[in-house]
């Protein structure tokens, strides 16, 4: 194969953020499209899905395929990239009729609470209407095309990556606006005669032709940049420029003129039906009848493309009861209702359809059913239930699912204990140094972000005590004075301090003893006291998981509250013959949040009505809601829980800071100045300050200022207690950034340690250890960006949680802002500390130093 072609085919730039964006957009569209198609397969055809996904693929090809690196060497390749961005991607995306699928694909709370008000805004509606009008869209396209092809502008884009992004954004944006009136994606309706698209498209083609001709026939190089880069394949810069002009000319003209043909045929076939008329607005959005069971709180928005065909049509499979006529009335979708609907197609405003989608530009606002209503949040059954996933749901509902998950982890714990006690005393070469401190920690936080408290579900420490309880039933109750989190707060502080002070991460021997002690403690406590006292009141890992999973997207909760109301047996808490009830005393109908929930699924197995699921919930919502929670009480009255949250938040930053070079150097300097042999004293002082002194000072000050500035009626302690929960997302983001960094840079270290472990037994099953894999790989730029994004999201969620808590105290936004301001300052301080930490050179713990 020609080396240039071969190199071209292998030159795929890696842009994780573009990939994530495209995948997320495609997934949202697909979800929405499937939902809409389920309701009205006649209206939502596979062609739309193919077009939209094709548009995303074209965007990917333009920006993250070999076209991107080769565009810098060949103007003609660069032109292909621009043609894709301006002439291929936009029409394909619009042909996918993306508005409703994208809205429908968003989670309902986001759709209803966040997107709804913006899309309903008349201001936004008017702006988009103005922007997408041909008299604006065409000049914008011409300006973008000609402006960026001026030599100075083009050279600027070629020599500056930042301006290159701007150029691409301009081309894509101008293309989207230009093609909007041509494609008229549903629910858009024509605001002018289709005949007007002829001059619109012809003018676009003319300007494209003139520009192309300039490039093609010019006898001088318009962009000197291409004279400076090496010429490949014997193509001169001028020939390259001519070829670029031809690419712009021929495919460009085809793309502009092909729609004219289609429109012409349509006009000939449909006659004046294809032109807009002053029709009754609601007819354009006749809502077909739908089964009552199909409603999910948002009206099934499956309007027909043409009033005549859509009217009276039944949804396939809609043999069930039909929605009453008045409910399917057009009023929810019409901008001005029946009486004034005739004005909907007025020439000065947006089309009715467009107005409806964005809320209309009239003074009267109506709800857009697909957006749902904010008030519905929390009333509807969650759309997602992990127990309903085929295969996974069946497995989790199996009575022995938990034990099946625990056994592998139990075996791994056994391996860690053995290797820790008998293996090499170097963390990076020992499974006890690698598995717990790199893999387990990283996977736990990632699992919490993606699902929930999955580690407690598979906790190996519970397995021995569960087996022992078959023969011995504990009868004693956990002491009343210890029924709080203070003991676990103390244990957590000790653990965080010991981790750093005794370098547990580099001591397989100590790690093995910690695991052993964990098994012994869990066994002893639960053998003596009934219930899950160890999990609820002692286990530091459990407390970590409980607090961090407050912002997990899944929660074990009741599917249908009405079923619980009529339930007489309450097996979820009392237990049944086949399954114990909740040992942590969380009564499902009154359970709220993941606090104290180990995801053991006992309640799921015990419920005789199959009314408990693992449901999707808005992450973090429980932080600002404060109902009475079974087994927990009110968050706002639990000072011990708040202290746990504060310790875990500040602990996240202290734990991450402890491995940064400046802090290590500071501790060594302090030790040296004090004439100490080890940095133990300095480490102890640091942890005392970071976990006790600073939290007390900062949280106390924020509570005092909040109390004073907003005139809150609560005491400072109550204010501190309530607002401390708002810090949890920020703390979690720091844990996530820290642990995912270690995991993603050192995940391969498990390979040589496993090889060594087996080699020690004389097994050559995995070969000899490849110690080069135990070296930490250099952190990619995207990893640093990912860490910052985690912190950004944590900050935003913390700020929002604080604001919502403040609103629950004061109700008035102005007073709420005053109340939350000190907490926001504290959050920004922590955020700044987190940013500083991720910028520092890190000790690559658990890995071998890179040689050479």
């Amino acid at each position: 194969m020609n080396p240039t072609v071969d190199a071209f085919l292998r030159s795929w730039p890696f842009d994780p953020w573009l990939l994530v964006t495209l995948f997320a957009t495609g997934a949202i569209y697909l979800r929405g499209w499937l939902g809409l198609r389920h309701r009205d397969p006649w209206r939502w055809k596979p062609a739309e899905l193919i077009a939209f996904l094709g548009g995303l693929v074209a965007l990917f090809l333009a920006l993250a395929s070999p076209i991107e690196p080769f565009a810098a060497l060949f103007l003609q390749v660069h032109m292909v990239q621009h043609v894709l961005l301006m002439m291929v991607v936009p029409p394909l995306l619009w042909l996918g009729n993306p508005f409703f699928p994208l809205l429908r694909g968003l989670p309902q709370p986001i759709r209803a609470y966040w997107v709804g008000p913006i899309l309903r805004s008349p201001l936004v509606s008017r702006f988009f209407t103005w922007l997408s009008h041909p008299r604006v869209a065409l000049p914008l396209l011409v300006a973008a095309s000609w402006g960026w092809h001026l030599p100075a502008a083009y050279e600027l884009a070629l020599r500056s990556p930042g301006w290159h992004y701007v150029q691409h954004a301009c081309f894509l944006g101008a293309g989207l606006l230009f093609w909007y009136p041509v494609v008229r994606p549903y629910p858009s309706r024509p605001r002018w005669s289709l005949w007007l698209l002829f001059p619109y498209l012809i003018l676009a083609d003319v300007q494209n032709t003139v520009l192309s001709a300039l490039l093609t026939f010019s006898d001088r190089l318009l962009y000197p940049y291409y004279a400076e880069v090496p010429r490949i394949g014997g193509v001169s810069a001028l020939e390259d420029q001519s070829a670029a002009g031809v690419i712009m000319w021929v495919p460009g003209s085809l793309v502009y003129l092909a729609p004219l043909f289609v429109i012409g045929v349509r006009l000939l076939l449909d006659g004046d039906r294809a032109t807009p008329r002053r029709t009754v607005a609601w007819r354009a959005f006749r809502v077909p009848r739908a089964r009552v069971g199909d409603t999910d709180g948002t009206f099934p928005l499956t309007p027909s493309p043409s009033p005549a065909r859509g009217e009276g049509r039944k949804i396939p499979g809609g043999e069930g009861r039909e929605i009453p006529r008045e409910y399917s009335s057009p009023s929810p979708l019409s901008r001005r209702g029946r009486g004034v609907g005739g004005e909907g197609a007025s020439s000065d405003g947006p089309s009715i359809a467009h107005g409806q989608l964005l809320g209309g530009s009239s003074s009267r606002q109506v709800a857009l059913p697909i957006l749902g209503q904010p008030q519905q949040i929390g009333r509807r059954p969650a759309a997602f239930d992990a127990l309903r996933i085929p295969g996974l749901g069946r497995f989790l509902r199996w009575r022995h699912a938990r034990m099946t998950l625990q056994i592998p982890l139990m075996l791994l714990a056994g391996v860690i204990i053995y290797d820790g006690l008998c293996g090499p005393p170097v963390g990076a070469m020992n499974l006890a140094g690698v598995l717990p401190w790199i893999h387990w920690r990283g996977l736990v936080v990632i699992g919490m972000l993606a699902a929930g408290n999955v580690f407690c579900m598979a906790c190996p420490f519970m397995l021995p005590r569960a087996l022992a309880r078959r023969w011995h039933v504990a009868t004693r109750a956990w002491p009343t004075w210890l029924r709080n989190k203070w003991l676990s707060v103390l244990l957590l502080v000790i653990f965080l301090w010991a981790y750093e002070a005794f370098a547990l991460w580099d001591s397989p021997w100590a790690t093995a003893w910690i695991v052993l002690a964990y098994f012994a403690a869990a066994f002893a406590v639960d053998s003596f006291f009934h219930g899950a006292s160890f999990c609820k009141y002692v286990c530091p890992i459990g407390q970590f998981n409980f607090v961090q999973s407050l912002i997990s997207p899944l929660e074990i909760k009741v599917r249908e509250p009405a079923v619980c109301t009529s339930c007489k047996t309450k097996d979820c808490i009392r237990g049944s013959e086949t399954s114990p009830g909740c040992e942590l005393r969380l009564f499902q109908p009154r359970k709220s949040s993941n606090m104290d929930c180990t995801f053991c699924l006992d309640c799921v197995h015990a419920c005789p009505h199959d009314n408990i699921g693992i449901l999707g919930v808005p992450p973090g919502r429980e932080l600002w809601h404060d109902p009475f929670r079974s087994g927990v009480g009110h968050f706002g009255k639990r000072l011990d829980l708040a202290a746990l949250c504060v310790v875990l938040t500040f602990g996240a930053f202290a734990n991450a800071a402890g491995m940064t070079a400046p802090l290590v150097a500071w501790q060594n300097r302090i030790s040296l100045n004090c004439g100490l042999q080890s940095p133990l004293v300095a480490t102890t002082a640091f942890y005392f300050v970071a976990l006790i002194a600073i939290p007390l000072l900062f949280v106390g000050s924020a509570a005092f200022l909040s109390h004073r500035s907003a005139g809150l009626t609560q005491t400072c302690a109550e204010v501190a207690t309530r607002y401390s929960y708002a810090l949890v997302p920020l703390g979690f983001s720091m844990w996530l950034a820290h642990y995912s960094f270690h995991f993603l840079t050192s995940y391969a270290s498990v390979v040589p340690t496993t090889q060594r472990f087996f080699a020690d037994f004389g097994s050559a099953l995995f070969g000899s250890p490849k110690w080069s894999c135990a070296c930490c790989i250099p952190a990619a730029t995207w990893l640093l960006q990912l860490e910052i994004v985690f912190l950004d999201l944590g900050l935003l969620l913390s700020l929002y949680a604080g604001y919502r808590i403040a609103l629950s105290h004061t109700l008035r936004p102005a007073a709420a802002l005053k109340a939350v301001a000190p907490w926001a300052a504290l959050m920004l301080l922590l955020f700044g500390a987190g940013i500083w930490i991720v910028f520092q050179p890190m000790q690559m713990r658990g890995t071998l130093p890179m040689v050479g």
Partner: protein, 180 residues
């Protein structure tokens, strides 16, 4: 010196080396202390045919401190554009002399050039976009809250209009106007 920017960065050297054409790119532009990408394109001198399989080594020597030397092989794996071979050098601020050793170039003097490496930008500037985008989100939230705060007024207006036409219509149905 050319300041054209290509896939590998800015063209730093372009010329004939024996029977080969060598083009060297550096990235970022301007070079700043930290990791500097040096990409090399080797072509046949006569035909211009790319020869990405030819091994290349990049050597950098600090001009004012000759004892500071860095040597790294340039590989196609490290290059995005597989026509090129790239090496990542961790360079401190200052002037560096860079030599490109192309295998098989014989006695011909290898491509060389001086590279002025500037002080690195503070990381919070380099990552300014990633740190700062929450400000945009907060701004959007303010707009959102403003729009939300406007809704009750609009709804009450709608309700009053509707009530004028149909007395007690809303109260009878028990459905707020914005939930029709």
């Amino acid at each position: 010196m050319s300041i054209a920017r290509a896939d590998g960065g800015t063209v730093r050297y372009s010329g004939r080396c024996g029977d080969r054409l060598i083009t060297v790119f550096t990235d970022p532009t301007p070079p700043r202390s930290g990791v500097v990408d040096v990409s090399v394109l080797v072509q046949e001198g006569d035909s211009g045919k790319p020869r990405p399989e030819i091994p290349v080594i990049v050597e950098a020597q600090r001009v004012d401190q000759p004892q500071k030397q860095i040597r790294a092989p340039a590989t196609t794996e490290a290059a995005t554009n597989k026509l090129l071979r790239a090496a990542q050098l961790d360079l401190a601020a200052g002037r560096w002399h860079v030599d490109i050793v192309v295998e098989g170039s014989g006695q011909v003097s290898p491509p060389e050039f001086d590279l002025d490496v500037a002080e690195g930008l503070p990381p919070w500037i380099q990552m300014g976009f990633w740190i700062g985008w929450p400000l945009a989100a907060i701004g959007l939230f303010v707009v959102h809250q403003f729009l939300v705060s406007q809704r009750p007024q609009v709804d009450s207006l709608a309700t009053s209009r509707k009530t004028l036409g149909r007395p007690n219509a809303c109260s009878q149905s028990g459905v707020p106007a914005n939930k029709i």
